[in-house]
């Protein structure tokens, strides 16, 4: 009954989404109050409760191991550890689509509660969100239903792909989805603003917190995914410019552009059209990402169940969102108005430049990602576009963005004028660490890209530090303090990522060699000796565990596991982290030696300063959190002030 109830609740959520669309629309047309408006708001609650309960039921089905549900049978096994039974609820396509839909509903709820201040705009956004909900819930109910039955039920499940049985990956999809789906709320508000003919400035203010929350979650999700790829897949890398990665990177770049341009739009009314356009585009690219990931039209190194029929569905949803959004934009962009003027050395100008560079980066990534697809569809050769392309195109654009980044916070809004000179002086001061850092790196014989990246990383870090030192004491309110801290933290995070990426560009190529216990291997100045390989079976897998002793002290114990239920091998790498970098060891297949002894492939890699990447991502997320908090705190203060004024007025009269 759990399965059928879950299926029914999904159907109910879809029906309620339709009610949400109709009533919120009518409510918005009536100014955002009255019975229809209230019904629209309650419909969102009904959607969230239905979808949430369905999701809970799916988890219960996993806990019960009810293999009469096809999705459970395909992704679970009775011997799987409890955490992964729960995580499997969103580990596969159908379950993750349910999560996606639940999040759409949750963001609809968020819009209806803390969305745009103007009630008509808020309700209009709720009803646009309902359109997106309708698209995705239909897809869920009719083409990806996690509660489809498999009868007669198999006696045992096929197990969740073992490489997904990992703590980081248990939380990676939900975070990534908060990011992707969060961008839907920016889309909904932008579209609603165009329908309502809201002035650009108000729309920018309404968009920004949602874009910020989504982008922060997206950052965390991407970082977790990269971390997972780094240690779980055992490929010895963290970013491969793979289509699936690019699919998350494009919305991230546009989201980064959006949260900056929204500031300029909110504060100064600058680039209103561009901000709205970005908000529409960012979500469309999220959906494009889902299409690329799920349809299997491109060769990716990442794991997904593929189904062309689903690809067509997603393409349909993508087309609906894109056509609707852009048509609306074409018709109504004029109503956004124009902002006040600014000088080329003003903060707006720099934000504009940063936006251009970020959008251009997203553009070249898009071209590189879909070019093979387009060439293939037009009957051309089968090609693939790999890291060399992205390094040659996206990297220079991002380098340019990094050059400008630290300067912007020192520039005044609107008029560059008099204080521009001051900003340049500070810039000169910042050049000092860059020169020193660059010199040191060159002296160490690092590659050119690493030197540039390292110097830029230091340049950005220096700028962020000076920004914090200069602006924090000047910030009077708590909200302002958090806003400045958020900015400085996020910028510093970008600096660390640049440093980490630069260091990684100078990593030595990895080494694979079969070793017999007792033999040694040297890589990147570390000598390791294979002491022995012994069995270390777990709850649902068999494993060989190697013990590698490092000459510098310490041992590494990588494992090679075999999951019988899924009939699949995985590797658990062992990593020794130091300030200088990660020393990384993995054990591969056994190899029979000519003398009859059994050796094991040992793979060694050294990743200089890879911690900088993790630290950078963490700081960006923390910065995003601070900025969100600043926003909420500012809102409370504002509301109090309004309440105070009203009270005072009441007392006076």
């Amino acid at each position: 009954m759990i399965a059928e109830l879950g299926r029914f609740l999904i159907a109910l959520a879809l029906a309620a989404s339709f009610a949400q669309l109709v009533f919120a629309w009518k409510g918005a047309s009536r100014g955002g109050s009255g019975g229809f408006a209230e019904a629209g708001r309650l419909a969102v609650v009904a959607v969230v409760v239905s979808a949430g309960t369905a999701f809970a039921l799916l988890i219960v089905a996993f806990l019960q191991s009810d293999f009469s549900i096809a999705y459970v049978a395909g992704h679970s096994h009775i011997d799987k550890p409890l955490l992964y039974k729960v995580a499997a609820a969103w580990g596969g396509h159908e379950g993750s689509m349910l999560l996606w839909c639940l999040m759409l509903g949750l963001f609809g709820l968020a819009i209806s509660r803390v969305g745009p201040a103007d009630p008509a705009l808020r309700l209009r956004a709720v009803s646009v969100q309902a359109i997106l909900q309708l698209l995705f819930f239909s897809f869920l109910a009719f083409a990806s239903n996690p509660f489809d039955r498999l009868l007669p039920a198999p006696v045992q499940g096929a197990d969740l792909n073992p490489i997904l049985q990992d703590p980081a990956l248990a939380v990676h999809p939900p975070l990534l989805y908060v990011g992707y789906v969060g961008l839907s709320s920016a889309f909904a508000i932008a579209a609603a603003g165009l329908i309502e003919k809201t002035p650009g400035r108000a729309l920018g203010a309404a968009l920004r917190p949602f874009a910020l929350a989504a982008w922060t979650a997206l950052t965390a999700g991407i970082a977790l995914g990269a971390w997972w790829a780094y240690y779980e897949l055992g490929w010895g890398g963290w970013w491969f410019w793979d289509p699936v990665e690019n699919a998350s990177f494009m919305p991230w770049l546009l989201g980064a552009a959006l949260i900056h341009s929204a500031i300029a739009t909110e504060k100064r009314g600058a680039f209103p059209g561009w901000t709205v356009f970005l908000a529409l585009l960012a979500f469309i690219l999220s959906t494009l990402g889902a299409f690329l990931v799920r349809s299997g039209v491109l060769t990716s190194v990442h794991a997904f169940a593929l189904d062309p029929e689903r690809g067509v569905w997603i393409l349909g949803m993508l087309a609906s969102a894109a056509v609707g959004g852009f048509a609306l934009f074409a018709l109504r962009a004029g109503s956004l108005g124009e902002g006040e003027g600014f000088e080329p050395t003003s903060r707006e100008a720099f934000i504009g430049a940063n936006n251009l560079l970020l959008a251009a980066s997203a553009g070249v990534v898009l071209v590189g990602t879909v070019y093979p697809l387009i060439l293939d569809m037009s009957g051309g050769a089968a090609v693939s576009v790999g890291p060399p392309y992205f390094n040659a195109t996206a990297t220079p654009l991002m380098i340019a963005a990094l050059v400008l980044l630290p300067l912007a916070p020192f520039l005044p809004w609107a008029n560059g004028g008099a204080r521009a000179g001051l900003a340049q002086m500070r810039a000169a001061l910042l050049l000092l660490p860059v020169a020193i850092g660059g010199g040191v790196l060159i002296w160490m014989g690092a590659p050119v890209l690493a030197v540039i990246g390292g110097a830029l990383g230091l340049w950005v870090l220096g700028g962020a530090a000076m920004d914090a030192v200069g602006a924090l004491p000047a910030a009077r309110t708590r909200a302002l303090k958090f806003a400045v801290a958020g900015r400085a933290l996020a910028h510093a995070g970008v600096g660390f990522i640049a440093l980490g990426a630069a260091a990684d560009a100078s990593r030595p190529p990895e080494l694979t060699r079969a070793l017999v216990p007792g033999e040694s291997l040297t890589h990147a100045g570390h000598t390791v000796t294979l002491e022995d390989v012994h069995r270390a079976d777990g709850q649902n897998y068999l494993a060989d565990r190697a013990t590698l002793r490092l000459e510098r002290g310490g041992i590494l114990q990588p494992e090679r596991r075999y999951y019988p239920a899924a009939d699949q091998n995985t590797r658990e790498v062992a990593i020794r982290t130091r300030l200088s970098g990660d020393f990384y060891a993995a054990i591969g297949e056994p190899r029979l030696q000519p003398d009859g002894r059994v050796g094991y492939e040992i793979r060694l890699a050294f990743h200089p300063m890879i911690w900088a990447l993790g630290l950078g991502a963490f700081m960006i997320v923390l910065g995003g959190g601070c900025a969100l908090y600043a926003r909420a705190a500012g809102r409370v203060v504002q509301r109090r002030r309004v309440a105070g004024e009203t009270a005072a007025r009441g007392a006076n009269s």
Binding site: M1, I2, A3, E4, L5, R7, F8, L9, I10, A11, L12, L14, A15, A16, F18, A19, F23, G34, G35, F36, E38, A39, L42, A43, V45, A46, V49, S50, A61, Q64, S65, D66, F67, S68, I69, I78, A141, F142, N145, D148, R149, L151, A153, P154, V155, Q156, D537, L542, Y562, P564, D567
Partner: protein, 326 residues
């Protein structure tokens, strides 16, 4: 079904009312609210139905297991039997019988790695000749027919525990055969044949296998133990003329060697086979008779007659053939 239908209807109506209630405040609100409630509930059911199985109860794994354990194993499919054994093992981790049977089942369904792990687990709890022998056989399958040191340790221990068990002795013989000691192999195999009752299907099977292996030319390509394709000429890829010449030369050399050393049991078998497969039926029969007179122990005769049957030198009764080749 009725419970589910009423529950679903209740939920749908509650949800509909929850959404539509504020509509009552509008002009003509009450009918609009009612229609909305009905529409939401109806829509939910209409979306629900395609692909739904409202009459099918859920099947939590615990219920499935309870059913399997109650059931008579012989009525179950292989998958169900496996799951039943796994459930038993989960319930009683020390149930060596269930572990051993599970291990055997896994080995039989080509999941050797897991089978080895399960059999080892059973052996850690209780040593048994049968389980040791199964472990050894699984290791042999895993290594594509080679009796590895680990496998032979298992067989040796099984042989120690229960010398009457045919498999360990057979594989110890195979080990000797793979090491090139054909006489030792013939002894091992002969010993099993001597132990088994004449009607035992194993007896015939081992004799046939022994006959096949021992009659292969030892100088030819190392066929190991893998070759299931009994009677396949090892030089099939040569052109006929060349092959014939090679066989003839080999047969002559072998004959000369056997004249000097008539105790080479494997040599005689090879000779018979070579002659039979190259069409010299009479010569083959003569060699066979000579060999039979040289080796008059019961097991050796059984092996020789198994060879004769396999080569078609003597008529075969259909039933016996089936039984022996399994």
């Amino acid at each position: 079904m009725i419970v589910f239908a009423s529950l679903a209807a209740l939920i749908a109506v509650i949800a509909g009312l929850f959404i539509a209630r504020p509509l009552a405040r509008e002009k003509h609100g009450a009918p609009i609210a009612l229609v909305t409630t009905g529409a939401i509930a109806l829509a939910a059911f209409m979306i629900y139905f395609p692909g739904a199985e409202p009459g099918e109860p859920g099947q939590p794994h615990s219920a499935t297991v309870a059913r399997l354990i109650e059931a008579d194993p012989s009525t179950l499919t292989l998958e169900e039997q496996e799951e039943r054994l796994r459930a038993l093992v989960r319930r009683e981790p020390d149930n060596t019988q269930a572990l051993a049977m599970l291990g055997r089942l896994l080995a039989a369904t080509e999941r050797e790695l897991e089978a080895v792990s399960v059999l080892e687990r059973a052996l850690r709890i209780e040593e048994s000749a049968r389980t040791l022998s199964d472990l050894g056989q699984t290791l042999v399958t895993l290594n594509e027919g080679e009796v590895t040191p680990a496998a032979s340790r298992a067989f040796e221990r099984a042989y120690e525990l229960d010398p009457a068990l045919p498999e360990p002795a057979f594989f110890l013989g195979l080990r000797a055969y793979q090491d090139g000691d054909r006489e030792a192999a013939a002894r091992y195999w002969g010993a099993i044949i001597a132990q088994l009752e004449p009607g035992d299907p194993f007896r015939g099977a081992i004799a046939a296998r022994a006959a096949d292996l021992l009659s292969r030319p030892s100088a030819g390509p190392a066929l190991g133990a893998g070759g299931e394709a009994a009677g396949e000429a090892p030089f099939a890829d040569l052109d006929p003329g060349e092959a014939e010449a090679m066989v003839a030369a080999m047969v002559d050399r072998l004959q000369a060697r056997l004249d000097e050393n008539p105790d080479d049991f494997s040599g005689w078998m090879t000779l018979v086979r070579a002659r039979a497969t190259s069409g010299q039926r009479e010569a083959a029969l003569a060699s066979l008779a000579q060999a039979q007179s040289n080796f008059d122990s019961e097991p050796r005769r059984v092996m020789l007659s198994a060879l004769a049957r396999a080569l078609g030198l003597v008529p075969v009764s259909g039933a016996q053939q089936d039984e022996e080749t399994r």
